[in-house]
């Protein structure tokens, strides 16, 4: 069952002129969160902005005395992310969750290959921890526009994650899209791999195509315009394949945000 917590901002760390990591004192929600689940956040008291916005839980933040809260990785693009960027310790942010269908972490001998685009890195810190508990060998393919927008590389390395980078401007890692090294490495992968991806929808579509071409299963975390996060409004739908070969719309807040790549229909819209 989701909880609604009026959470104090513990700290807010700016990673770049657009990205920040904000820690919210919502330990009750953090304790229930599974990798890939999200929270619905509202950072104002009035009716502008009116609706909450969905965010993947980035980290379950722990101290020596237990769970302190959860963090969100945010990129400043709209009114709510701007408020998250500008928040300071002590501000109160309404946080509803955890919500949605989580990732299913694979166990050895299978390997986990995580593919992140930009702010799509968010669900992979908690997934990394879950995979590490199982002893699963894990790789992160992580792409962004430039090296200045690649974060937490040391943390992933410290968790034993092999990190493969790409940037559109070539300032760090390989120049180009992250699906290029993914494609190349899947071509010579030894053993069973599960691909996990989160990022812009065009990247997810490309990941689904690459994984599909190699016969590798993939779990994708999608992001759609979402009104409530609880299944009430039917705004966050995505077309999935039906049993009869057609497609039908399902709510990404309930049936997702994590979907099996082969189920998602991309060419519908």
């Amino acid at each position: 069952m989701p909880l609604d917590v009026e959470a104090k901002v513990v700290r807010n760390t700016r990673l770049s002129p657009d990205y920040n990591v904000i820690v919210l004192a919502a330990p009750e929600i953090a304790a229930l969160t599974k990798p890939g689940q999200f929270v619905m956040v509202k950072s104002s008291r009035g009716s502008d902005p009116l609706l909450r916005r969905p965010f993947s839980v980035f980290e379950v933040v722990r101290t020596s005395s237990g769970i302190e809260g959860l963090s969100l990785l945010s990129k400043r693009v709209g009114v709510t992310t701007r408020m998250l960027f500008d928040s300071v310790a002590g501000d109160v942010i309404s946080c509803l969750g955890p919500l949605g269908r989580p990732f299913d972490p694979v166990a050895p001998p299978r390997q986990a290959w995580m593919v992140a685009g930009g702010v799509g890195l968010a669900p992979f810190a908690t997934l990394t921890e879950a995979l590490r508990e199982q002893g699963t060998r894990t790789t992160l393919f992580y792409g962004a526009r430039s090296g200045r927008e690649l974060f937490y590389l040391d943390w992933f390395a410290s968790q034993g994650v092999r990190v493969v980078l790409s940037t559109e401007d070539g300032s760090m890692g390989e120049r180009g899209r992250i699906t290029e090294p993914l494609d190349r490495e899947l071509g010579r992968a030894a053993g069973d791999v599960m691909v996990y991806a989160c990022g812009p929808e065009r990247m997810l579509e490309a990941v689904a195509a690459v994984a599909g071409a190699h016969g590798t299963p993939a779990q994708l975390s999608v992001e759609r315009v979402m009104g409530c996060g609880m299944g009430g409004c039917y705004s966050c739908v995505i077309p999935v394949r039906g049993p009869g070969g057609g497609h039908h719309y399902v709510r990404s807040c309930m049936a997702g945000p994590v979907f099996t790549a082969a189920d998602v229909v991309w060419d519908h819209e």
Binding site: S47, P49, V225, G227, C228, G231, V237, Y249, H268
Partner: protein
């Protein structure tokens, strides 16, 4: 303290109802909310057959409001009766079923099916959805259409019949009167206001359906005025809605003339809003030494300022 209200033959434990299209089929919220604590749950609009609805994007936020063009995606009445109603019965919900037809016959058939189903307490006739071309709103925009669909449904059901009215007309009170003359047990209003939003960079509409329905606090004062007008025009109960987000908002509608109120958009923001609303209403009643919420309905005091411009 008596919070109960009567809608025709139906008694609600309190005047708070979940608005159609804003609460799924109710069961989505069963983990978070005791559905039996709501006055009623109004189902998402149902046609006879399942519907896919519009492609996304289906909503866009606007100042203190939102536009939606969901397109009445739904599972159809048969799956609703087979899969959702038993669960809602078990949860003790009071179920008002919102029905939509492309034709008069479809409303009649839906009413027949639901009148024979166990656990249905009333029918809300959706004759006001602004987002679909066929049926529905073509009835709700005319006096004859409203009269015809209400009287046809009344002939085949023992359930209270509540046409849901559109605000996208010149004179909503005259539509309410036509509904009353046709035998409606109550009217509910307002559905959303037809509206649109455009991305100026791409020059494309922000909704796939181009236009959509505006809801939320932005519409509240217009909705209060329309409830007030309808209350003066008809004797049957008026169920009010439009941007209610607090107990104060709900009380404003009740004082304007609403026997019960529906909560829609605010539920998206706060699924745990129900006990907060009830608490605020009882606190108000204590402060004003009221023992029955029904005594507050339509208790607006316009003094000598009663305006004859209000349609009557």
């Amino acid at each position: 303290m008596d919070l109960s209200v009567e809608i025709g033959s139906l008694r609600l434990a309190n005047p708070l109802m979940a608005a159609s299209g804003c609460y799924g089929y109710g069961v989505e919220y069963a983990e978070a909310v005791d559905l039996s604590s709501l006055g009623a749950v109004v189902s998402k609009g149902l046609f006879l057959a399942p519907r896919e609805g519009h492609p996304p994007p289906r909503i866009v936020e606007t100042p203190s409001g939102m536009l939606n063009a969901i397109g009445l995606q739904g599972i159809g009445v048969h799956r609703y009766v087979a899969e959702k109603l038993p669960e809602l019965r078990r949860l003790g919900a009071t179920n008002v079923i919102n029905i939509c037809g492309s034709t008069l016959d479809e409303y009649v058939e839906l009413a027949r099916i639901l009148s024979n189903a166990e656990g249905v307490h009333a029918l809300e006739l959706n004759i006001s959805c602004p987002n679909i071309k066929e049926g529905g709103i073509t009835f709700g925009c005319s006096l004859h259409g409203t009269f015809d669909v209400v009287s046809a449904v009344k002939k085949v059901t023992h359930l209270p019949v509540i046409p849901k009215l559109t605000p996208n007309v010149t004179d909503v009170a005259s539509i309410a009167k036509a509904a009353e003359e046709a035998g409606a047990d109550a009217v509910s209003l307002v559905n959303t206001f037809l509206a649109m939003a455009i991305d100026i960079e791409t020059r494309r509409p922000k909704l796939s359906n181009v236009v959509g329905g505006l809801s939320g606090p932005a519409i509240r004062p217009i909705a209060v005025r329309m409830v007030y007008e309808c209350r003066r025009a008809v004797r049957i109960p008026v169920i009010g809605m439009g941007g209610i987000a607090s107990a104060e908002d709900a009380l404003e509608f009740i004082i304007a003339g609403a026997t019960a109120v529906q909560i829609g958009t605010a539920n998206f923001v706060d699924p745990f809003i129900w006990p907060k609303l009830l608490h605020g209403i009882t606190e108000y009643m204590e402060r004003h030494q009221l023992s029955r919420i029904a005594d507050l309905v339509g208790s607006i005091d316009t003094g000598t300022r009663e305006k004859e411009w209000v349609s009557s």
